[in-house]
């Protein structure tokens, strides 16, 4: 069974953490993944850096720029992950803009994900229609789960289409915003959450965008299966001299 599905079947209040591979230093990937797991992350999103990410706010853009300067590439990332499953059990998701994946080769990318033990993909600029037309059979062929975003502006028809074409969780964008900003968080979110509740989707939802701490995480757990923290986490790694310690310091708030 795919690790993502297993996690979703077994646990509520799923804490998912995003980080950018190659940040703060080129060699931090394994330390970050292991420390996140040891400090209670249920799910980890590994960000592939891209020169021109559209859906990310300034904090994550900055980490992308540094990671690229540090020499991070798709190939290097797979090399770093080769034996990640020796000591990491939590589900891993690769989050990347489409272009780096296309240049690597979409199928080759999926194949490598499977080989190293990555469980799913999030490709924010791959819309569901393109996914269905060109990529779905490849992704499914390698046993990967494709996680698709929905926002308060997504129509019911579109949300149904996304629900029908994924088998893990739906990434619920908390507000009409880019990562690391949280305009209109509260009002948008509760109306959106109750609309989704009424739609009775087959997939559970995990909420992302605008979640920065225990308080905002607990809040989204009331209406969804869990929450994703990105910008606030990578911010905690900025200028870190001891990445494992910084992660411990950040994650301590989530320990009951």
């Amino acid at each position: 069974m795919n690790r993502i599905n297993k996690l979703l079947a077994e646990k509520d209040n799923i804490l998912s953490i995003y980080f950018t591979a190659g940040y703060p230093s080129f060699d931090d990937t394994r330390t970050v993944v292991k420390s996140l797991q040891d400090n209670g992350a249920d799910l980890i999103e590994i960000g592939v850096p891209f020169s021109d990410p559209i859906a990310d706010g300034p904090t994550i853009q900055y980490t992308n720029t540094i990671a690229l300067e540090n020499g991070m590439t798709v190939e290097n990332l797979f090399q770093q992950l080769v034996d990640v499953r020796e000591d990491v059990e939590v589900p891993l998701i690769m989050m990347s803009s489409l272009n780096p994946i296309l240049q690597y080769g979409f199928e080759e990318f999926c194949k490598k994900c499977k080989e190293v033990g990555v469980d799913g993909l999030i490709i924010p600029d791959l819309p569901v229609e393109e996914y269905i037309a060109e990529y779905k059979t490849i992704v499914e062929g390698y046993g990967l789960r494709n996680v698709i975003l929905i926002t308060p502006a997504s129509t019911d028809d579109r949300i149904r289409l996304i629900d029908d074409n994924t088998d893990a969780f739906i990434y619920m964008v908390s507000s009409s915003a880019i990562t690391g900003t949280n305009t209109k968080f509260a009002s948008d979110f509760s109306a959106f959450a109750s609309r989704l509740e009424q739609m009775k989707l087959k997939n559970p939802r995990i909420t992302g965008f605008g979640i920065s701490d225990k308080e905002s995480f607990d809040k989204v757990c009331e209406t969804s299966k869990g929450g994703i923290i990105g910008s606030a986490f990578v911010k905690a790694l900025k200028d870190s001299k001891d990445v494992a310690k910084s992660i411990g310091d950040f994650m301590v708030q989530f320990k009951n």
């Binding site: 021109d52 559209i54 964008v173 009409s176």
Partner: protein, 395 residues
Amino acid sequence: METQVSPNERGYYGSFGGAFIPEMMQANIAELQEKYEEIMNAPEFRAEFEQLLKDYVGRPTPLYKATRLSKKYNSNIYLKREDLNHTGAHKINNSLGQIILAKKLGKKKIIAETGAGQHGVATATACALMGIECVVFMGELDVDRQAPNVGRMKMLGAEVIPVSSGSKTLKDATNEAMRYWIANPFDTHYIIGSVVGPHPYPDMVAKFQSVISKEIKKQLKEETGSELPDRVIACVGGGSNATGAFYHFLEDEEVELVAAEAAGKGLDSGFTAAATFKGVSGILHGSKTLFMQTEDGQVEEPHSISAGLDYPGIGPALAHWFESGRVKYEAVTDDHAMKAGMELCKLEGIIPAVESAHALAALDNLDLKPDEIIVVNLSGRGDKDLKTYLDQLES
């Protein structure tokens, strides 16, 4: 391969195009996809657009027979004088079209990206005319390089936001405008300045700019008795003026269409912006197209002496016309373009934009037959480039 003038229902021209956008932009793009053709084809829209092009922009722009330039090349060279448009370039055609469309969609605020500042000025102008709030994103480097245009935008009431992410140029300004749209999706319309971006932008901008080739046909017929020249030449950054100049000739296969790309310091110098020569297919700014990138899929920094051509890719339709062979691409270096620009000043008393000078320079690359009829799209005037020209004169 058959040449497509318009995209299919998924926004594709051959293997290029589409709408590769994050879900957060979906609602705005879907609204445009659903409504743009209906709005643009409505008689009321056409009347307002055409009236403004005539009375406000000063269209039709002249098709001028450049006698001394023609003599040099032993041919008949006509200049399509887009430089004589209000605000000094073809960009205003698109900005006005899109702002009327934005009004019909009930939008209250306009955002735009700009490189050299020409599209920013055109959009700020259109917004002032319509009394709509305007925010222009401009790379920090370009803000410094193009100070007069920053001043113009401010005088016209626009807010200019310097962009400090990435390479601090046009591609980053485009990213930032898209991010702003994602964060502020309600009541805001994004006026993209070129035939780039997710479907329907490439088609929408192409249609607004197609007035250029429509006029060329009519004017050439009056002048020569035939509406078809032997060649049409235009420069290509993102490709909006080229698309406008080629549009109504795409199905006239006897007309050769020539696009002049910026080779910068040379195709193999590492400082170039020639997307068909140096680019490969990938996803940039919401569409699948040709652009310069590393093997790892990171967007490469372009270089051109002309800020308007300093873009790593081209629009998806132009990538398709390259793929289908309908458009012939020529690479023109910085130095060659500057020389051609200077020459037009002396031969014809016209100071062309450095962008347009690339199209003029392409005349040297072609094997011209005696007495053939050539139309060069003079996309903009060179006032904004005085410093670049003067530096060249002194060196």
